[in-house]
């Protein structure tokens, strides 16, 4: 047990705590010691209009991917649970992207998005439009990252819902269907409440995962053009490892840490009440 506790302590808890300390320091990784800077990093951060754009990007990206994957996942999961032909194949191929390196998914979508030779041109031509310049214009870059992320995440959420739906108490659902509930009514009034513990779990972990999404951004857009597809996790990387501003990066990391901890706490505190447990 001790080696594991030590590893978690040294490489998970300690960094989280020391990052908070560094957020009150100035350092470029080269100087022998960090220098005390008080609240200056935070003042700079909150004064920076770019920071608020990045926060908004993070919020939009996280919300769209989490809500999108939950809604898409529960619908697709219910569809698979009907057991009509080909559902087994969908389960396999929907989950497969979740197994692939984010870098590979990024490259795959970079090719899909190519406005001259990608499938994007084909699809947009079908409706008589030109493909947008997905990864190279600020209007579309965040959407590009969002689409690729959703594609990679959706299958995972779907399969979790699917497994949970097969797991639902059959007798309760049968009783409801004898009472005349079926189809979407059934989904809304019986299945969704029974699935709420899963939805709760998937939304907590989904927010944590989306807020840290990095590989797709790095491959598809490098956070750009400008900062149009930068999120907080990209900003932390850029400030720390490209601009070597450890203080600013640490204060951004602290903001991310605090936001996620508070959000998780709020979800657990208020989400639990709305969760219906089957047993």
């Amino acid at each position: 047990m001790l080696p594991n506790l030590a590893a978690i302590l040294v490489f998970s808890y300690w960094p989280a705590i020391y990052t908070i300390v560094l957020s009150f320091m100035d350092w470029d990784l080269v100087a022998p010691m960090p220098e005390w800077a008080g609240l200056q990093n935070y003042v700079d951060l909150f004064d920076d209009p770019d920071f608020w754009t990045i926060m908004l990007n993070t919020l939009v990206f996280t919300t769209v991917t989490v809500v999108g994957s939950l809604v898409g996942g529960v619908l697709l999961g219910s569809l698979l649970a009907t057991k009509v032909p080909f559902t087994g194949m969908v389960r396999t191929f929907a989950f497969a992207p979740h197994m692939l390196p984010g870098a590979a998914v990024g490259m795959l979508w970079l090719f899909m998005f190519d406005p001259s030779f990608g499938l994007s041109r084909f699809l947009f031509n079908l409706v008589g439009a030109d493909s947008p310049q997905w990864t190279t214009t600020s209007d579309w870059s965040l959407a590009a990252v969002t689409v690729a992320y959703l594609w990679q995440r959706l299958g995972f959420v779907t399969v979790i819902y699917y497994t949970a739906i097969l797991d639902l108490p059959g007798d309760v659902l049968e009783a409801a269907s004898l009472d005349g509930a079926h189809g979407l009514t059934m989904l809304r009034h019986m299945v969704l409440p029974l699935l709420s513990p899963i939805t709760f779990f998937l939304s907590v972990t989904g927010v944590i995962a989306a807020a840290q999404a990095f590989d797709l951004i790095s491959i598809l857009t490098n956070g750009g053009p400008g900062i149009s597809s930068s999120t907080l996790s990209w900003m932390i990387y850029e400030e720390a490892f490209q601009k070597f501003d450890i203080g600013k990066a640490s204060s951004a990391a602290t903001v991310l840490l605090v936001l996620l901890l508070v959000l998780t706490f709020v979800q657990v505190r208020f989400g639990e009440k709305k969760v219906t447990y089957a047993s």
């Binding site: 047990m1 559902t87 692939l100 995972f156 991310l256």
Partner: protein, 300 residues
């Protein structure tokens, strides 16, 4: 997570649910509904299948095929030169070796960690066990991205930048795999272990000879999940390595992305297939195990 009833894992539920549901579903559904639902299923299949097909077919298309319009769905000829150009454009053999080393060693170390730790939580009397357990599980709620900066500094202070130990060791702490194994080990009847203890078997013997063999399916599942995660790792190896000879496959792909605005798509897609192929193969071989393990983590 709080349930104490020993229920069959999602693995067997996936299997059991299948035949049971099929019978009850087929009984009372009109044909037209089945047709509509099947159409929806096929549409969703395309959403996932077409991009994967596009990647693999692109990797074996000649440039003439890739840059043709209207686009070519089927390659005119099998063009394997892309793999050679990828191999020539960047040291892919190094990337492959580095990925294999960091993934295998990292997975082995994390699994040893997970097994030891899960065994201790399940069978060894330790004071403040509950607190320690929450401490470990709680680490899953800590966003890993926040730890990058300090881990980089720590690894730098140890002189491990751009080394295998620097790439591997920060990732060997185990929470998720430990949790899966712990759930599994709790279902082992303690009397079996007590009998072994009476026979004079110490903890190590009991673990290696009794608990590990009995938990073998779950150990395999957890190993697969950990392995996939390590292979796919992106941000940490990106930061901690600085020379081409230490890069792993996912990072190596960056070498093929547009140089001076021109992208050799054939080579890039071939490189992507090299990075993604092994995981796809692994998934197809062991999908029930992998999905079951991930579902177990979510549903308990």
């Amino acid at each position: 997570m709080t349930t104490t009833v020993r229920s069959p894992g999602p693995l067997s539920r996936l299997r059991a649910g299948r035949s049971q549901q099929r019978r009850s579903a087929d009984l009372h559904r009109p044909l037209w509904q089945t047709i509509v639902l099947t159409a929806l299923v096929i549409a969703s299949l395309l959403v996932f299948l077409v991009p994967i097909y596009w990647l693999f077919s692109g990797a074996v298309k000649s440039n003439a095929d890739i840059y043709s319009w209207p686009l070519k769905w089927v390659p005119t000829s099998l063009h394997l030169d892309n793999f050679r150009s990828a191999w020539e454009a960047a040291p892919f053999d190094r990337f492959l070796i580095n990925s294999l080393i960091t993934t295998s060693v990292g997975t082995a170390l994390e699994m040893v960690n997970a097994i030891l730790c899960a065994y201790a939580f399940a069978f060894v009397h330790v004071r403040i066990k509950r607190v320690l357990f929450l401490f470990l599980i709680g680490s899953m709620m800590l966003p890993g991205h926040v730890t990058l900066i300090v881990n980089y500094i720590t690894v730098g202070n140890l002189g491990w930048l751009n080394t295998y130990q620097g790439m591997i060791l920060p990732g060997i702490g185990s929470a998720f795999a430990m949790f899966l194994l712990y759930q599994q080990m709790r279902t082992i009847d303690p009397e079996i272990l007590q009998a072994a203890e009476v026979d004079g078997a110490g903890h190590l013997r009991r673990m290696v000879l009794i608990v590990v063999p009995m938990s073998w399916p779950m150990i395999l599942t957890a190993t697969l999940i950990v392995l996939v995660g390590k292979w796919n790792e992106y941000v940490w190896p990106l930061i901690v390595t600085s020379t081409a000879s230490m890069r792993t496959l996912p990072i190596g792909l960056l070498f093929l992305r547009s140089q001076e605005g021109y992208t050799n798509w054939g080579a890039l897609l071939a490189g992507t297939v090299i990075a993604a192929g092994p995981m796809l193969l692994l998934f197809f071989l062991a999908q029930r195990r992998i999905i079951g393990g991930m579902a177990a983590g979510a549903l308990k």
